[in-house]
Amino acid sequence: MRELKSDRQHKITFTLDGRQVSGDAEPHLLLSDFLREKLGVTSVHVGCEHGVCGTCTVHIDGKAVRACLTFAVQVGNRRVDTVESLSNNEGELNDLQSAFRKHHALQCGFCTPGILMSVEHYLRHNSDPTESDVRDMLSGHLCRCTGYVGMVRAIMETAAKRKSGI
């Protein structure tokens, strides 16, 4: 394991949304602050910074993780994906994002990037969830605007479509 000095900047190189990036961080710098402030990834939102709300969720090596409970130095040589990886360069949303729009699953949209990342991870491992499974999974996130109804519909629809290969 690499030794870290508390007051030093450490260079971190990793893959962000498919690109190789690097930046410097002190050991106590949170991944959420690192991504937002040093790398300009403002799509990663912070709603509580104590691990409850889920707005800061990103993927690390394909797994959904709270960026506010992760230190920047922990992602060296790993793969980090944010919500920005879900749509393509032509501005086309993916199926889950489109379903969110169709079912009005967002209002202010502040919670949305984190929720999309959790759902993507979840659906990869649960292709045929029931509504109550989906609600259980979503309960790791807070949304203050929507009451979750549109989200549940959008997720169920996306799961069904992905399963039947549409």
């Binding site: 509580c48 104590h50 409850v52 202010c108 259980d136 979503l138």
Partner: protein
């Protein structure tokens, strides 16, 4: 959408939102994401750990000495450049953007550090040394209203800042004549919808113009703009407020950002650089704002058949520590509508407004509605019980009749339109009330607790800006000038290429206004919504605005939307006139459709929309005579129905009045008392729905918060004023498993008072859902009343069940009420020292030993006989910081017993406690028994109420273990379940 859609058909369609793609793709910029000028400094705020205290001194030298710190400001600094905020009531209750001389709630801003970055600014906070002299605090509004209560503003003479009595009709006569009098007292808690994005302010100061510029996620109302500019001692023209297009939720709460806007302006002025501040979650929950908690004594005079002839309400509304404008709005927003959905001609109201040592109240969705409807609809439920009637029959017997609209309510509200009986029919039939009743019967037959609750309410939309003046008597209003009305603005610009853009005064907080405005404008101009570019960032220096500007009181659909409709009509008329000339036809024959401007008699004869728009730019000389060149139109809209309050204090508080009828079935677990919402039906008549997808989104969101208020959400305080819910693990927001999907039903009775016919829709369920659920719970368990939030412990006394004893290992320490009402942690323990009592005694009394024994102790000073002062570095789990400790020993009975008393104060909070230590000689040494009681307030209490028991216990145990080690022994520890649990949580020192 096919090209066949003709003019006028986008409004009313469930069109997907324009806003969504950028939000879903992560490209939308929120306040904290916007670029800032190089060299911008960052602020962090030091906050009071006390609910009520005098500030004796503030030492900022060490903080200022840090190289990364540009400045530290305290109350006396900002007084040089600013005035107190103006208040709705002219009383000696001055508040500045930093506390001056006294703090009045936990979390009040005491100092601000401006540094290179936020991490450094926060580090510097720890070096500011504030000495407080604590004062008795008052938390309960009833206590605060008493004569001998601790007074927050001694110059005001009382915590009760206003008391007014109102009478409409003949309430006394009606009560005297009535067969039944039914009453209830409700105590509505403090809560807030707590947007996920906190406050963000970026401020700068131009010293050459003496002007401030701000970009902040402020949501209005812009009645607060002059409050800020006057506090900064500049005219409004030199206080520029810009707001972003995206805000991470508002719910009214982002009105209360204004003291921080002023503070950051002053900070920017002081350091000569732009300053940015981002509120964190603890700050938000502790100190942002809350809906006022309210106590209401509600009484109804009722006839034999259930008909209510009079209501009487005595309200005590708690505004916390300061009266920040536009407070006390919630106490008067419903004033014209205090009879709700009912035709009750006689009404008496007493309104009292009180201050307590809690976070100042402010705007929160529902704004007074949740409180008063909780009283009214609980009362209707009580009437049914006391008269042996069905609650729905009592509701139906009293509703405003469908042929009486527009109906003038006793308090002055002019209910515009509706058919309440029909809405109830719709809800009952399409929602399946009969089936729900059968479910209740079946459940009860099986011995379950199952109840049904109802609520019928009127939802106000677009506030009359003059309603708050009802708080002062008519004579005073006459002197000050009458106030009433509400102005909204929208502007449409069509560029030379025919591209249409829209700006407006609605300050969106995520509701989808851009989409709805695009529908409205598209309809008028014969275009598609996606052709319309709507930009809703707002700038007081460039966009029209008025006092009513902002996002609140469900004003959008009857205010800004109407202004946009009117502006689009102006553009349309101009285009028709220009096209008429160009096509050489009479204007009556012209239609705008499918991107063309067409002679309807001869559809071959047309011009493309962009060609006609272009003419106004390219050939202004050829426009019809008298027509202005270019194509930009602003419309303002001010509905005439919003008059100032009358001499008799009648006030039409809002413009539109929608109707909601809700009912639900709940089941209560017979063992855990957990509440499950089995079914919830909500029927709305919100007039014309501009976009049903978005309208339903508003209902789902308001409902979700209604469920949160009913079951989970409350800002909790200790009786001593310590704040106990500073994280989302303590302030509980409902998640997807707590909120069922409600069944929504609609009918549409357009309001005749606006050209679009739409009413407000975003607040109704905040008002109806909490009381609907409470009514169902009372029905289920047969309780006379229940206060929110209804968590299972409140219901246990009503439930017939076997008590199970708590597990014994965990009963080591517990929270208790102290004799003076405070919240304390008490505990006890014992330990064995391998030496005689005399040695233990000497060690305890020797300052050098003491310094070594106290965990984290640095520089212990002797300040008197058996009295010490020490700096103590405490680290327990996630909590750490430097504290100043005062310790004294008393009741000395050498070498048998001693009382240790002490207090700790630091940036994270303060605590006071005492303990008794007893020494008993045993065979090979001394047995030390100790008992203790500790009270904690400040940040530690706010974020870790649940951890405190453990933390205090760990510290105290550490103390005795170190004592034993000092005496040459080994602390013998029996690893209890509790200790293992603590270790799991990280308390393993």
């Amino acid at each position: 959408m096919s090209a066949k859609n003709t003019v006028g058909s986008y409004v009313g369609q469930a069109i997907e939102r324009q806003e969504d793609a950028a939000l879903l793709g992560g490209q939308a910029l929120f306040s904290d994401d916007l670029p800032i000028a190089a060299g911008t400094l960052h602020a962090a705020i030091l906050r009071s750990p006390h609910a009520h205290a005098e500030i004796v001194s503030i030492d900022t030298i060490a903080a200022k000495a840090l190289p990364s710190v540009a400045a530290v400001l305290i109350g006396s600094d900002i007084q040089q450049y600013s005035d107190p905020f103006i208040t709705v009531l002219k009383r000696p209750i001055d508040e500045w953007s930093l506390a001056v001389d006294r703090v009045r709630f936990v979390g009040e801003a005491v100092a601000v550090v401006i540094a290179e970055d936020r991490y450094k600014a926060e580090d510097a906070l720890d070096l500011i040394n504030v000495i407080y002299k604590p004062l008795p605090a008052v938390i309960n509004p009833k206590e605060a209203a008493k004569e001998n209560a601790p007074i927050l503003y001694p110059e005001a003479g009382s915590n009760v800042l206003s008391e007014r009595h109102f009478k409409y009709g003949d309430p006394d006569g009606a009560f005297a004549k009535s067969k039944h009098k039914v009453s209830i007292e409700i105590d509505y808690p403090r809560n807030s919808q707590t947007p996920l994005e906190g406050y963000v302010v970026v401020a700068s100061y131009n010293k050459f113009d003496d002007a401030y510029e701000v970009n902040a996620n402020f949501q209005g109302p812009y009645t607060v703009h002059p409050v800020m500019s006057r506090a900064l001692r500049v005219p409004g023209s030199r206080f520029r407020m810009q707001t972003p297009a995206h805000s991470g939720g508002g719910f009214g709460v982002k009105q209360a950002i204004f003291p921080y806007v002023v503070l950051m302006c002053l900070a920017a002025r002081h350091v000569g650089r732009p300053v940015k501040w981002v509120e964190d979650r603890l700050e938000h929950l502790t100190a942002a704002t809350a809906a006022p908690n309210r106590i209401i004594q509600a009484e109804a005079a009722v006839q034999e058949d259930g008909r209510v002839t009079a209501f009487r309400f005595v309200q005590l509304d708690d505004y916390g520590a300061h009266l920040r404008p536009p407070m006390p709005g919630p106490l008067y927003r419903q004033h014209g509508l205090m009879t709700g959905a009912y035709d009750v001609p006689n009404l008496a109201i007493t309104n009292r407004l009180v201050l307590t040592n809690k976070t100042p109240s402010g705007m929160v969705r529902g704004f007074g509605g949740p409180q008063i409807y909780f009283a009214i609809e609980r009362l209707m439920h009580r009437i049914a019980i006391e008269l042996g009637m069905d609650p729905l029959d009592v509701i139906r017997r009293n509703l405003v009749a469908s042929d009486s609209f527009p109906y003038r309510a006793a308090g002055g509200a002019l209910l515009d339109s509706g058919d309440y009986q029909k809405a109830i029919d719709l809800g009952v039939n399409d929602g399946g009330l009969d089936e729900l009743k059968r479910r209740r019967e079946k459940a009860r037959a099986e011995g379950k607790y199952y109840g049904i609750g109802y609520a019928a309410i009127v939802e106000p939309g677009q506030s009359n800006i003059g309603y708050l003046s009802t708080i002062v008597p008519f004579k005073e209003r006459q002197k000050a000038g009458h106030k009433g009305g509400s102005v909204s603005h929208a502007t449409i610009h069509v560029d030379p290429m025919g591209v249409v853009s829209v700006t407006a005064d609605c300050i969106p907080q995520g509701q989808g206004q851009a989409t709805v405005l695009s529908q409205i404008v598209a309809d008028q101009l014969g275009l598609k919504p996606e052709d319309i570019k709507v930009s809703l960032e707002h700038d007081t220096q460039k966009d029209p605005w008025s006092l009513a500007t902002g996002n609140y009181s469900s004003r959008f659909s009857s205010a800004t939307a109407v202004a946009a409709h009117l502006a689009a009509k102006k553009v349309r008329e101009k285009l028709i006139a220009v096209a008429g000339q160009a096509l050489n036809v009479t204007t009556d024959d012209i239609e705008l459709t499918g991107g063309k401007i067409v002679d309807s008699k001869n559809p071959e004869n047309f011009l493309k929309f962009h060609r006609v728009a272009g003419l106004t730019h390219w050939e202004p000389g050829k426009l019809p005579t008298g027509m202005a060149a270019g194509l930009s139109e602003t419309a303002s809209w001010a509905p005439p129905e919003l008059d100032p309050p009358t001499e008799g204090d009648q006030i039409n508080t809002s413009l539109t009045y929608g109707f909601l009828f809700d009912y639900c079935g709940v089941e209560i677990d017979p063992h855990t008392a957990e509440i499950r919402i089995d079914k919830y039906v909500t029927t709305h008549d919100s007039g014309k729905l501009l976009n049903p997808l978005i309208a339903n989104g508003q209902i789902y969101g308001a409902f979700a918060w209604g469920v949160g208020c009913a079951l989970l959400e409350e800002f909790a305080y200790g009786e001593d004023g310590s704040f106990l819910t500073g994280t989302f693990a303590d302030y509980l927001c409902p998640t997807s498993v707590e909120i069922p999907e409600p069944q929504i039903l609609h009918m549409e009775t357009p309001t005749p008072f606006t050209p679009l016919g739409a009413k407000g829709i975003g607040e109704g369920n905040c008002m109806s859902t909490p009381v609907c659920i409470a009514n169902a719970v009372c029905d289920a368990i047969g309780a006379e009343n229940v206060n929110l939030p209804i968590y299972p412990a409140k219901l246990l006394p009503f439930i017939d069940r076997e008590e199970t004893a708590p597990p014994q290992d965990i009963a080591l320490s517990q929270r208790q009420q102290t004799p003076d009402g405070g919240r304390a942690i008490v505990g006890e323990g014992n330990i064995f020292a391998p030496t005689d009592p005399e040695t233990v005694w000497q060690t305890l009394l020797d300052p050098r030993h003491l310094a070594a024994i106290i965990p984290g102790c640095q520089n212990l000073e002797v300040v008197g006989e058996n009295a010490y002062r020490a700096d103590v570095n405490i680290a327990v789990g996630p909590i750490g910081g430097m504290f100043r400790a005062e310790i004294s020993l008393s009741d000395l009975d050498p070498p048998k017993s001693v009382t240790l008393s002490g207090s700790l104060a630091g940036p994270l909070g303060s605590s006071a406690g005492s303990g008794k230590v007893r020494l008993t000689q045993e065979e090979n040494g001394t047995r030390i028994d100790y008992t203790y009681s500790v009270e904690v307030s400040g940040k530690v209490a706010a974020i870790g109420g649940r951890m405190l028991d453990g933390a205090s216990q760990v510290l105290i145990n550490q103390f005795f273990k170190r004592l034993i080690v000092r005496l040459g022994g080994e602390p013998i520890e029996k690893p209890t379940l509790w200790a293992r649990f603590l270790r799991l949580l990280g308390f393993n020192r």
